[in-house]
């Protein structure tokens, strides 16, 4: 990996491979450096201030914490209230950590937002204070990573609508996607859909689970599906739900979006439910151009992918382009001498579920399932052997995107793995030139090395391909004292000129990211 040049060698990166009778060690440098918050924080361009972060925000994150000295998966979700003056005036969160699930109230906290939308946030509760870096894409949403030495997480922040904090507002159909680990420590993804009756009842619940590549197939929710608001923390939008036979706490963002955190310890899941458009879904519901992004685990480690396809509304897929990074092995499809064809089905029950398959003449067959939230959005799950990976599909509007239309300021978040989890968030500015057009700053938690880096400067280029609706590239090289010189390379798939899905193409790290245009 590229974290070289530090004064100390920490954990080995990459993977251990044993070949034949003799052990062969593949050792790729280590992590190191100096952490700590820089007092006079620099900023890129933008119009944000601390006042931009004001109101109640729901958040959800997943990551790794040190548990008895070893890295352990954990999740957190909650709600905080920001006063617009740099103070956190209250809130509550639920964490699913290695010793159990806890509900914790915040007694206070502080934050600062700089002009480029990047900021620092600290949250104080009865166990101490945790630290985060945030990047606002707008006053209504942003990226968040935890930047403590003992834990790293990544996720999102969304402004809540307190008017939606009632059972009656949670009514209608929703699709959902939660992921994490099962009670037996396998990677687990569960996607599906349900209808909420506005009174705590759940009907027409369907789900598909994928545990370490073992598929449940589409299942009806077991008896007992329900949801209720929390009598104590209802003002935070908090509630409890039983969905797909699993127990969750939830935080309402608004009537169309709910954050979910699984509470069936030692399983740990986190994700979202989002409103499903009330349609009778059929094969014609998936028509046009789409991009997708998936992240999860294979039998050999982390796996991420992103790409695009065109659907004809009749079950046929074309113009399929895909990048997959499986434990550092990067596959870009179609290859120089391969072709891809594919198709899809939508369930006869008209509830939005479906299957999707494509076959590359060299790389083989890729299989997926989905649940449509609308004709322009779906939750997505890979169903290939030994792979547990999930994400989203978005309708794509990118054919006319140019370097000029991409110019502006963009917030981003990355998460992934080197030797262990790494998380980053930041902002970059794009000029209207075709290359060498990007510069910005980011905060980076290199958890495997126990080091947090702040205000890491970088520059590089976002380069549109010949067809911007297909594969584009983003390459960013760090040039900051204290941060090991690194170049982060991504394939970039455009939802439109405002939203870009990233998949890392470096062999030394597995990264997934998103960029969102700032106003």
């Amino acid at each position: 990996m590229s974290f070289a040049g530090s004064s100390r060698l920490n954990r080995a990166a990459g993977k251990f491979i044993v070949a034949g009778a003799a052990a062969f060690l593949l050792l790729i440098a280590g992590c190191g450096g100096n952490g700590g918050v820089i007092v006079n924080r620099p900023s890129g361009s933008g119009n944000f201030t601390t006042a931009s972060f004001k109101g109640q925000y729901a958040f959800s994150m997943s990551g790794k914490e040190l548990c008895n000295g070893v890295s352990s998966f954990f999740t957190r979700a909650g709600s905080i209230t920001a006063d617009g003056l740099g103070n956190i005036t209250g809130g509550v969160e639920d964490v699913n950590v290695c010793s159990g699930v806890y509900e914790i109230t915040f007694s206070g906290g502080s934050y600062q937002v700089r002009a480029d939308g990047r900021g620092s946030l600290s949250l104080t509760n009865s166990t101490g204070t945790t630290s985060y870096s945030i990047t606002l894409a707008s006053p209504a949403q942003g990226f968040i990573i935890q930047t403590d030495a003992s834990a790293t997480t990544s996720g999102s922040l969304r402004l809540q609508d307190p008017a939606a904090f009632s059972l009656t507002k949670i009514a209608g159909s929703y699709v959902f996607d939660v992921s994490g680990i099962s009670a037996t420590l396998n990677p687990l993804s569960v996607i599906g859909r349900f209808t909420a009756d506005g009174a705590g009842g759940v009907q027409n619940g369907l789900y598909d689970s994928n545990e370490a590549g073992t598929l449940s197939g589409q299942q009806a929710f077991p008896a007992g599906a329900s949801y209720q608001l929390d009598a104590t923390y209802g003002s935070s939008g908090r509630g409890l739900a039983t969905l797909a036979g699993r127990n969750f706490v939830f935080y309402i963002v608004d009537a169309s979006r709910i954050v979910l955190l699984g509470t069936d310890f030692p399983s740990a899941l986190v994700g979202e439910a989002s409103a499903q458009q009330n349609l009778s879904y059929s094969v014609s519901s998936l028509s046009g151009n789409y991009v997708f992004q998936l992240g999860g685990a294979s039998a050999t480690g982390a796996i991420v992918s992103a790409g695009r396809f065109t659907s004809d509304g009749a079950g046929n897929l074309s113009a399929i382009v895909l990048d997959e990074n499986s434990s550092g092995t990067v596959t870009a499809l179609p290859g120089a001498s391969s072709t891809i064809s594919g198709g899809y089905t939508v369930d006869a029950n008209a509830l939005g579920g479906g299957t999707l398959t494509w076959t590359d003449s060299a790389a083989g067959t890729f299989t997926y399932i989905f649940y449509l939230a609308s004709p322009t959005r779906a939750v997505f799950q890979e169903t290939d052997s030994n792979i547990t990976s999930d994400g989203l599909i978005f309708a794509q509007n990118a054919a006319s995107v140019t370097a000029s239309s991409m110019a502006g300021n963009h917030a981003f978040g990355w998460t992934g793995v080197t030797t262990d989890e790494v998380d980053a968030t930041g902002q970059f500015s794009l000029s209207s030139t075709a290359s060498a057009n990007a510069s910005g700053l980011m905060d980076f938690n290199a958890f495997s090395g126990g080091v947090q880096y702040f205000d890491v400067a970088f520059s590089g280029g976002f380069t549109l391909g010949a067809n911007p609706a297909a594969r584009n590239t983003l390459s960013l090289a760090t040039n900051s004292a204290g941060f090991p010189p690194s170049t982060f390379k991504f394939s970039a798939y455009l939802v439109d000129s405002n939203t870009v899905l990233l998949v890392g193409t470096d062999s030394t790290r597995v990264l997934l990211g998103t960029t969102l245009r700032q106003p």
Partner: protein, 80 residues
Amino acid sequence: MTADLGPAGYLAARHFSLAPGDPVKLAGVSSATRQGTVFLARVIEKGGQSLVLRTAQGAPLAIAGGEGRAAQAKRQGSAR
């Protein structure tokens, strides 16, 4: 044959070191992946030291972090 032990950080964090030429014993299963057929090691032994690398279903324990969550171990004193 190539054996996959999963992410290296998992071994390093458990003080399980490997060097070229080390004799090891592996228990696991061969499995087809997109990168070809590999031996997915579930347990590795070296010099009397043994380490479980994967769950019974073959998932790398590094994904979950392994024993801490399973054993409901006591947490460190850090803030949550």
